[in-house]
């Protein structure tokens, strides 16, 4: 009996230590990746790198046009996805009374979230670039990325609204406010910080996506900054892909690639920290 107990204790300890070690190795992998990129990329980052255009076959200069392009694409995609996503979330949580409809919408939203980004790229190319004739442009790229970001924004909006207690709504309605007034002046303001985390997380997601813009917006190199929404743009993730894989002199473009990867990671890091900060600040 006693030996059985000891045996149980030992096997528990062994298993738990295995879990601990495996968990920390996962964390270690993350720090390895980030550390590696930071270590190799930090020396490349300087004012010129962030504000100059690429020169001499991407071996010198900077990534300014790619930063600008990604900025435009992010703004454009959020203009598409944020209003639709928030309204969709409001509809699901506040308006839809039929449980089945809500379930169908939720399944469809999950499905959309599971569709690979390259399929969005195909769809964007077929509809926005060819059928609607936008060509390879900021407009087509933004619309494509916007569709991709939609499920995330819907889900977070819905969760944010769900967290608002019904007493808020009842109080407002009891004072004679209409449903719309209640939503606009009571529910939404209360849910706003959490909805913002959705916006921030999707900005992080969208700024790193490559496959959807491959055939809808991204250009290898442009001598000028875009001047209208019908222009092609350079974008950070595509720039990294191109200089990492298809340069004429891979060794010479490596520093540029490390720098670009670092900028991408920093954007994602900032967006994640910001979202966490907001979430923590307002859940208290």
């Amino acid at each position: 009996m006693k030996s059985n107990n000891i045996h149980k204790k030992v096997s528990q300890n062994v298993m738990f230590w295995i879990f601990r070690i495996m968990s920390f190795s996962v964390v270690a992998i993350l720090f390895w990746i980030i550390g590696f990129i930071v270590y190799r990329g930090i020396g490349v980052i300087n004012w010129e790198f962030l504000t100059a255009a690429p020169e001499e076959g991407m071996t010198k200069g900077g990534i300014f046009p790619a930063i600008v392009g990604t900025f435009y694409l992010v703004i454009g995609s959020m203009l598409v996805a944020f209003p639709i996503g928030v309204m969709s979330g409001i509809y699901m949580n506040e308006y839809a009374t039929n449980k089945h409809i809500v379930r169908v919408i939720r399944i469809m939203t999950n499905n959309l979230g599971g569709i690979p980004s390259i399929v969005f790229g195909l769809f964007g190319m077929s509809l926005f670039v060819n059928k609607l004739g936008f060509g390879d442009s900021i407009l087509a790229g933004s619309l494509t990325l916007g569709l991709l970001a939609l499920p995330l924004i819907i889900r977070i909006t819905e969760e944010a609204l769900k967290a608002i207690p019904d007493s808020y709504r009842h109080g407002s309605l009891a004072l004679g406010a209409t449903k719309l007034q209640t939503i606009g002046r009571v529910v939404l303001p209360a849910a706003f910080p959490n909805i913002m985390t959705g916006l921030i997380l999707s900005i992080g997601r969208v700024s790193g996506e490559t496959a959807p813009i491959l055939f809808t917006a991204a250009a290898y190199f442009l001598p000028k900054l875009p001047s209208s929404i019908y222009d092609q743009v350079m974008a950070l993730p595509y720039h990294l892909y191109v200089i990492a894989t298809s340069g004429t002199d891979l060794e010479a473009t490596r520093p540029m690639a490390y720098g670009t990867a670092l900028v991408l990671i920093v954007i994602v890091l900032i967006m994640n920290l910001l979202a966490n900060y907001l979430r923590k600040k307002f859940t208290k």
């Binding site: 993350l30 959309l112 992080g204 790193g208 990294l240």
Partner: protein, 401 residues
């Protein structure tokens, strides 16, 4: 009174806008499927032979048709007798227009190729085993050979074909088997690597970690999910690919294994989050009863929590596979992209998403290759749709004991 009416109208308008937005995701999914299939469907109406060309044989040849694979094998010199494709025992003489032109002098052809139809006709009549690949415009009514009827690419060629070679002439090869198998190999490898780690982290987070560690670990895992796939690809290319080349002593490190490792890291957050959620949902009463009966914490995890969470864990695996199947950029950068049916993990492979990303830029809009790539997109779309719904179903299943 008037103001109230205006407000009412405004409310109804807003409500309709909300309703419309609510249906947005459904509409988008419908649109995606419609567009992918309409763009891709033309593939099965396209000729197997390059556009503007025909295949010609001698009049006495009994062959009725050739599959794209047979055509390619003949022109590659791997099939040499008509007997192998169901005809008489005559050696095949594959011939392109250039070769025919080379047989004659400039006068015999004519400066404006005006005699070329006649020459093609003669050559076809003289050579019993000929398989001519000639431009349609030079075949006139007096042609003394037989023109093989234009065959369209069949779904069987597409889904069962063992070769993907979209730029081959005279017959482009659109067999997706290597791509499909490549995708499955890389994804399954990724799940096999990710599952033990994912489960370990999920158990650790759900049962072992104290709140402080948990508070740190959760955002770290979210961050892992947030890193762009192109950065993973870059890291894989610089670090993992050379590592594999050295460890296995290979000529190139861009292999299925490299893809699986990178994808495993990328699928981890999905697996961890879903599995942990389902473990946390185990009713406290079940846990406590097990502990009260004298079971250790580990026995409780193993015999109570994991069985209870098994459907959630299955869902985690399915979603992880879904994530891996659709991943494009990272895989494109590290797997070497050779469209051959894989046999080991240390060979280059090519996945469906990587094929689309690599080739769509060069395919002209509406061409056969373009259609074939959209069809690949449609397959990918259906695969991931099935996976999403599957995961949904197993997550909702009642927990059978």
């Amino acid at each position: 009174m008037f103001r109230k009416k205006k407000n009412k109208f405004f409310e109804i308008l807003i409500e309709w806008m909300l309703r419309l937005s609510g249906s947005a995701t459904t509409i988008i999914i419908l649109l995606i499927s419609i567009f992918l299939f309409t763009e891709g469907w033309g593939l099965f109406k396209s000729s197997t032979v390059e556009k503007g060309y025909v295949l010609c044989i001698n009049k006495e040849n009994k062959i009725k048709n050739l599959t794209p694979e047979q055509i390619k094998e003949i022109f590659d010199g791997n099939i040499t007798s008509w007997k192998e494709v169901g005809g008489d025992d005559i050696p095949i003489e594959p011939m392109r227009m250039d070769e025919v032109i080379g047989m004659f002098s400039e006068e015999e052809i004519g400066s404006d190729f005006e005699h070329l139809p006649e020459r093609l006709s003669d050559v076809t009549a003289e050579h019993k085993g000929i398989l001519g690949f000639f431009p349609e415009q030079f075949i006139d009514i007096k042609f003394k050979g037989k023109v093989l009827p234009a065959e369209t690419i069949s779904p069987k060629d597409y889904f069962g074909g063992k070769e993907w070679f979209p730029t081959a002439t005279p017959a482009a090869q659109f067999g997706i088997l290597p791509l499909l198998l490549g995708t499955l190999w890389v994804s399954l490898g990724a799940i096999l690597l990710a599952l033990p780690f994912g489960l370990a982290v999920a158990i650790y987070l759900a049962e072992l970690a104290n709140p402080t560690v948990r508070k740190i670990l959760k955002p770290v895992i979210e961050l892992l999910a947030g890193i762009p796939s192109v950065v993973y690809g870059f890291f894989g290319l610089i670090v993992i690919v050379p590592m594999i080349r050295n460890v296995f002593n290979l000529p190139v490190g861009e292999t299925a294994l490299a893809g699986s490792i990178v994808l495993a890291i990328m699928a981890l957050p999905t697996i961890i989050t879903v599995a942990e959620d389902s473990m946390r949902n185990t009713p406290l009463a079940m846990k406590e009863s097990s502990l009260a009966l004298g079971a250790t914490h580990w026995q409780t995890i193993y015999h109570v929590i994991i069985p209870y969470a098994s459907s959630g864990i299955m869902a985690a695996v399915v979603l992880g596979i879904g994530r891996a199947i659709g991943e494009t950029m990272a895989v494109l950068m590290v797997t070497g992209n050779a469209a051959v049916i894989p046999h080991t993990f240390t060979e280059p492979v090519r996945t469906i998403p990587a094929t689309i990303a690599a080739e769509l830029g060069e395919a002209s809009v509406g061409s056969v290759q373009y259609q074939a790539l959209f069809m690949l997109g449609a397959i990918l779309f259906i695969l991931t749709l099935i996976i999403s719904i599957w995961a949904e179903v197993i997550r909702k299943e009642p927990h059978a004991e």
